[in-house]
Amino acid sequence: MSEMLFYPLAASVCIFAGLAVTQKNVFHCALYLAMVLLSIAGIYFYLDAPFLGVIQILVYVGGIITLFVFAIKLTAHIEDKVIRQTSQQWVPSLMITGILLCVLFRFFSQNPWANPNLGKPTTLAQLGNFLMTNYAVPFEFISLLLLAAMVGAIVIGKVKK
């Protein structure tokens, strides 16, 4: 993957993220979010993390975005599209996020990073082995967590008779 491919992906991430945050129609936002996630998956591939990229596409774009679409459709409201979607405090929040952005940009541009020492890209086997040995305990917890989330979602979502 050539370096040249990174920049367009980064640009698309930024654009779609901007759109996802400012568009009036929530459905479109969800789609823009999907585009952002896809571009990020691309970046993962560039960063020698193919497995993560795939997971990103599968879980995020496939799972979570579809969930969002379902939620949006369930709560769709006729006059939603017409009313202004940003709350009246968008000016102060814009200012604050602007300040935050400048601060981070200055920080990152100022400090000289150590010269990158690239190791061999990890293969999937190494990843799996690493996952099962060092991170066995968190792995189990994650499954427990996901189970709890599922049960919770079902209980809350149940329509009371």
Binding site: S87, S93, I96, T97, L100, V103, R106
Partner: protein, 597 residues
């Protein structure tokens, strides 16, 4: 044996009985008061006789511990005290007898005699006290009784106001007296009068102390700055004016100066102020008395003038002259007031312009009135002449020409206004239809007795003479003072009986002066504007200051806290995103601070 301290106890006993059971005693309370007064008089005679056999002052016991030193009270027995004791109890007895007649139809008859007995007790006590504190106790007691008695007919607001005015004015003088007493105590270390003869040369501090003590005397004897209360004190019943505001209480100031004479003598500056104040009051009061039209007010101003003369006599160094005049003045001034009382009792009005030709209707009162007037005017055989002559003599011999002139002018004016009083009230044709009848016997007998004394008191001579060696009367001085008195009488005769044109026109010309004198030099009004009004405004101001500023501050603190809590409450909007915004803002600041950007 010591009986002097029983003298004030008898009237005090009468006071206690009268105040509690007086109402039931009715006339009995009057007899009780007179009886105790007579008892005191007899005891005074006994004390006088004891004094002649050599008994002296004695102590009663410790009253208080001050600065570790015991302060004990005692009784002083010396010629001055005995003279005062005799005068007070003698005149008091007759005035009490007189007031039985004067007050017999008054609803609060017994209370009147209760207050008079209390007054007698405090006055006698004042004279017997041997140190400043005991004197101050009775001094205020006397002031208190004068307050009660001036405001005796308290239905009349004027009487109530006059009572308060008297008490407050004397109290101003007493504050000076208190400070002077403390100053004296801290320099000489004693309150007792007996320690004055150990005083060495004049010290500035002691001079100030003497002047401050004299301030107390000014307040009580109604001298120049603090004299405003005496004319208003005439609101009280006339026997009170006779007893308190002529013979005894006002003389307390002169008694005080006489008692502390060694202190004053050691400080010529203080003596000088006494003389000057005396002179001013004498002249000023005499001029006012000339034009005043109320019979009691004329006598009141004449009292102020004669007291000024006594102070002048003391001020020029004549202890015997001053005290002698005090004695004679007590007699004839009491007599004059009682005559005025019986005239008012008979006629009902006090304005001399409406009186006239009373001589034929009220024989005894008129005769005694004339005797008293002549004595006051200083016509030779009568008492006033001898004592006034001695004052003039002392003033002349001690090289005080100005004060001598003032004294002479005062005696001229005195004889003039007394003559004016006689001619307007007794002689001439009655100016308005008055059915005057002679007062009952109970009132006229005291008049006769007092008139006898007013006539003969002069020959007794000053009781302190042998003590201080008074000058023998020089014939020239006697002649001069007689001439002055007679010219005064003659002038008044020409104006009021003969209505001569020349003196009339003379009188008419100085209308402006007349107006000034009529309004008593506007002193009352000046005090009102300069002192009373600003003080009232000050109090009102301080009260509003207290309410607004000090209270305001306190309530202000409460309001500020309430306001702040109000503001803080509004920040809790309830919207999640506001809180998030504040949080993010906090994080941003934290980051900036951590990264030191």
């Amino acid at each position: 044996m010591h009986i002097a301290h029983y003298i004030p106890l008898f009237p005090f006993l009468a006071f206690v009985i009268n105040i509690f059971v007086g109402r039931r005693l009715k006339i009995g309370s009057a007899y009780l008061a007179v009886g105790t007064c007579v008892l005191s008089f007899l005891c005074s005679l006994k004390v006088w006789q004891g004094f002649l056999q050599g008994e002296r002052s004695y102590s009663l016991g410790t009253w208080l511990l001050i600065q570790g030193k015991p302060l004990d009270f005692g009784i002083i027995v010396d010629p001055l005290t005995i003279m005062m004791l005799l005068i007070v109890s003698f005149i008091g007895t007759f005035i009490l007898i007189y007031s039985i007649g004067y007050m017999h139809d008054d609803p609060r008859f017994s209370r009147y005699f209760a207050y008079i007995s209390l007054f007698m007790a405090s006055m006698l006590g004042l004279v017997l006290a041997d140190n400043f504190i005991l004197l101050l106790i009775f001094w205020e007691g006397v002031g208190l009784c004068s307050y009660f008695l001036i405001a005796f007919w308290h239905e009349r607001p004027a009487a109530a106001k006059a009572g308060i005015k008297a008490f407050v004015t004397t109290r101003i003088g007493d504050t000076g007296f208190l400070v002077g007493m403390l100053l004296l105590f801290f320099t000489t270390g004693t309150f007792h009068f007996s320690d004055f003869q150990f005083l060495r040369g004049p010290e500035p501090v002691l001079t100030l102390a003497a002047i401050l003590i004299f301030a107390g005397a000014i307040g009580k004897s109604a001298q120049f700055p603090l004299h405003v209360w005496l004319p208003d004190a005439m609101e009280g019943p006339t026997p009170i004016s006779a007893l308190i505001h002529a013979a005894t209480m006002v003389a307390a100031g002169v008694y005080l100066v006489a008692r502390c004479f060694p202190l004053f003598a050691a400080h010529p500056a203080a003596l000088q102020t006494v003389a000057v104040i005396g002179g001013i009051s004498a002249l000023m009061a005499a001029t006012i008395a000339v034009v005043n039209n109320d019979i009691k007010r004329v006598l009141a101003y004449s009292t102020i003038s004669q007291l000024g003369l006594m102070m002048l006599g003391l001020g020029v160094g004549g202890l015997s002259a001053g005290t002698f005049h005090l004695m004679t003045h007590a007699f004839f001034k009491a007599l004059l007031f009682l005559c005025a009382g019986s005239i008012i009792h008979a006629v009902g009005i006090q304005d001399i312009r409406q009186m006239g030709g009373l001589f034929s209707k009220m024989k005894v009162t008129s005769v005694t009135f004339c005797i008293g007037a002549l004595a006051l005017a200083g016509v030779p055989p009568f008492a006033g002449f001898w004592s006034k002559d001695e004052i003039l003599l002392t003033a002349w011999n001690n090289h005080h020409p100005v004060l001598f002139a003032v004294a002479l002018l005062t005696s001229l004016l005195t004889s003039f206004y007394m003559a004016r009083l006689i001619f307007l009230v007794l002689f001439g044709k009655p100016r308005s239809e008055l059915h005057a009848h002679e007062s009952p016997a109970v009132m006229t007998i005291p008049l006769v007795v007092l008139s006898v004394f007013a006539a003969l008191a002069g020959f007794i001579g000053s009781p302190l003479k042998e003590a201080t060696g008074a000058y023998e009367g020089s014939q020239v001085m006697m002649l001069a003072s007689t001439m002055v008195s007679l010219t005064g009488l003659g002038l008044a005769y020409l104006i009021y009986i003969r209505q001569m044109a020349l003196p009339q026109s003379l009188l008419m010309s100085c209308q402006g002066l007349k107006q000034l004198l009529l309004n008593k030099y506007y002193i009352d009004e000046i005090y009102e504007v300069v002192l009373v009004k600003p003080i009232l405004r000050l109090c009102q101001g301080s009260f509003s200051f207290d309410m607004k500023i000090v209270d305001g501050l306190v309530n202000g603190v409460a309001n500020v806290t309430q306001f702040c809590s109000g503001v803080l409450r509004r920040t809790q909007t309830g919207l999640v995103q506001n809180y998030l915004l504040v949080q993010v803002f906090g994080v941003v600041l934290l980051i900036m601070w951590l990264l030191k950007i």
